[in-house]
Symmetry: C2
Subunit: 378 residues, 2 copies
């Protein structure tokens, strides 16, 4: 039986519920990114609750390097370590190894790389990634994959997708074994497989068909939002989505702007994550229903309005643009924190409204109203 239940659809868009060992996730959902076990910008797990966060995403690569996944396992796993009682998804570490670490070698059995912290030479194979995630005790573990930068040669992408397929089989075997161990941190941990293939439709499609056969609790589309155009991304989702099991959740990794999310929901995606709300917030770029507002702008110096008069988040209920601008100009940490908080509220509220509109059968209308206006990049 799947942990995912579809409540209703509108076109390809889906409204669902996903059960995890740490509670229920209403989909479509945006996962709030707590890379190192904390949201950048000084937000606490209590803030996450207040911001309407349903599920946090933590980072296997970072937590493996520091403070170490074995230490976290000793302390009862990530939920206990960061005092977040809701669901947690951990990524596989692959993306960071391919983007942040100094990559030394990709072999059929795994990768060799240097830590970005101290240069230590490290190796990671699918079994390592899954064991780390078992130690972290997340509710959703991601299979270890190679994330290819776009543009990439067709021949390389084909070989890489093949390798990622074999890594997925090994990931699955390890996951099944570890969650049955007596002292498993989270025996209810689930594994999502990841589709790859850059923007080559036939490679994407074939890869998706093959991983669907592995009957995993969920599936992700990886390797997008890494250099292709928005249209290429949407086209790729459409090609892959047809072959994703309808009764499993679908996660589009690392995406994106509010506009990207609306477009991807309309193409059948359920899970999202992105550093954008936190990163933009730290730079004073604030999401509103009418686009992004740069709070450092002189025009807000005497502005008594909240960031977004249409927003009911605690930041908008309590602080003016003038105060927020002052905090940024004075380099007070509180400025970043309030900005990130508001942006996460914005994303979580967007998802709430998407779900409400799906239930009411008005999502297509909602998408049209906001998709272009919120397709903001800074």
């Amino acid at each position: 039986m799947s942990s995912f239940q579809l409540l209703c659809r509108e076109g390809h868009a889906r409204r669902g519920v996903f059960q995890t060992a740490h509670g229920t996730v209403q989909t479509p959902v945006f996962m709030n990114v707590a890379t190192q076990g904390a949201i950048k910008g000084g937000l606490s797990s209590r803030d996450l609750q207040d911001a309407g966060c349903q599920i946090a995403l933590c980072n296997t690569y970072h937590l493996h390097l520091r403070p170490g996944d074995e230490l976290i396992a000793e302390l009862g796993g990530l939920h206990s370590f960061m005092n977040w009682k809701g669901p947690i998804l951990t990524d596989s570490g692959g993306f960071q190894i391919f983007s942040l670490a100094k990559l030394r070698k990709i072999r059929e059995d795994g990768v060799i790389f240097n830590s970005h912290i101290d240069g230590r030479l490290l190796r990671m194979e699918p079994e390592d990634s899954i064991r780390i995630q078992a130690n972290l005790g997340s509710d959703i573990a991601m299979a270890f994959d190679e994330c290819v930068r776009i543009p990439a040669e067709r021949s390389y992408v084909g070989a890489s997708a093949e390798r990622t397929y074999h890594w997925l089989i090994r990931s699955k075997e390890t996951w099944q074994k570890l969650k049955q161990e007596e002292h498993a941190v989270n025996p209810g941990q689930m594994l999502f497989g990841i589709n790859q293939g850059a923007v080559f439709h036939d490679i994407r499609r074939n890869h998706m068909k093959r991983i669907a056969d592995l009957d995993l609790p969920g599936y992700a589309i990886g390797g997008l939002a890494v250099g292709e155009t928005h249209q290429e991304m949407y086209d790729t989702i459409e090609v892959v989505e047809e072959w994703m099991p309808a009764d499993r959740p679908r996660y589009l990794m690392g995406v994106g702007t509010p506009g990207n999310i609306l477009e991807s929901v309309s193409r059948g995606i359920d899970f999202f994550d992105c550093v954008m709300p936190a990163r933009n917030g730290r730079h004073g770029h604030l999401f509103t229903k009418s686009g992004i507002l740069n709070i450092k702008n002189e025009r807000y110096a005497r502005d008594e309005d909240p960031i977004d008069p249409a927003c009911s988040c605690p930041v908008c209920r309590n602080y003016s643009r003038a105060y927020l601008r002052h905090l940024f100009k004075a380099q007070e940490m509180l400025g970043m924190r309030l900005a990130v908080f508001h942006n996460l509220c914005f994303y979580n509220t967007l998802m709430l409204e998407i779900r409400e509109n799906l239930e009411a059968g008005t999502f297509e209308n909602y998408r049209r109203m906001y998709s272009e206006k919120l397709d903001t990049r800074i």
Copy 2:
């Protein structure tokens, strides 16, 4: 009639209540330092409430330079600007001009200095300081004074104390005039005079006698904790305290360690402020009943205990030393914020316990138990 009411005494130590235009302050009290209209470390006004803060201290010099006191007046004053509904004290700006700005000239009528932000040449006279504080709308304004570094020549200190006395008379006149203006931001604003005289007992005593005659709502001892020994500070307090009006609150500026506070309460002081809890917190130095703990220490890497098992603050109730250490090592802003939060709770709880012990007549015992142990400097 004084806004200050003495509830009880134990030796020289006093338990009192002080009425302000934004609520009541139970004394002895520690004021939480929100220099630029925010506590360093990303704490919000809601956090201040949760940390048990009774009264915030903001900085005239900083807010005058940025965002500007006239802007803040336009937006309804500091309470409204930073959304803190409790009492606020503003210092006079003198201390920052003498320590932070590039001082150009001290004249009988005021000082000329360069802004530490952009080098702008600025002038401040007592009338300016009081007008700025009227614009900020604080509940307690501080008279403009010269803060002399210790050690200092006796002849210089004598002349400086005389100058500060004349500045106080001008401060008082301006304060009385401005609070009666039709559009006064805070018509209930009070003015505290500041005693100076370095560690020369006769200068301190004479100065105190003369300013006591001005019948102000409260009196501060300034110019301590700037280079003298703890014993010199305590001796100076004893000399001055004898001449401070018993029915007015007494504020020891910029002090200090928990041990300093206990010793000063026992010598008759009611108000304190210090950057120590926030500054130490940002460096991972955490106050506990058994002394300061450096959370970055390797020994806390796997420590599941809270910072202080005897503390019931939200940080100690929710997060382990291991998690806090990880946040500091990973340079997550949340680490600083939780550390500062805990330290402010520690100070506010210390003051609460002082008040409880004064009410129970057991303060002297409490002082002996903690004074030496908490006389911590890092």
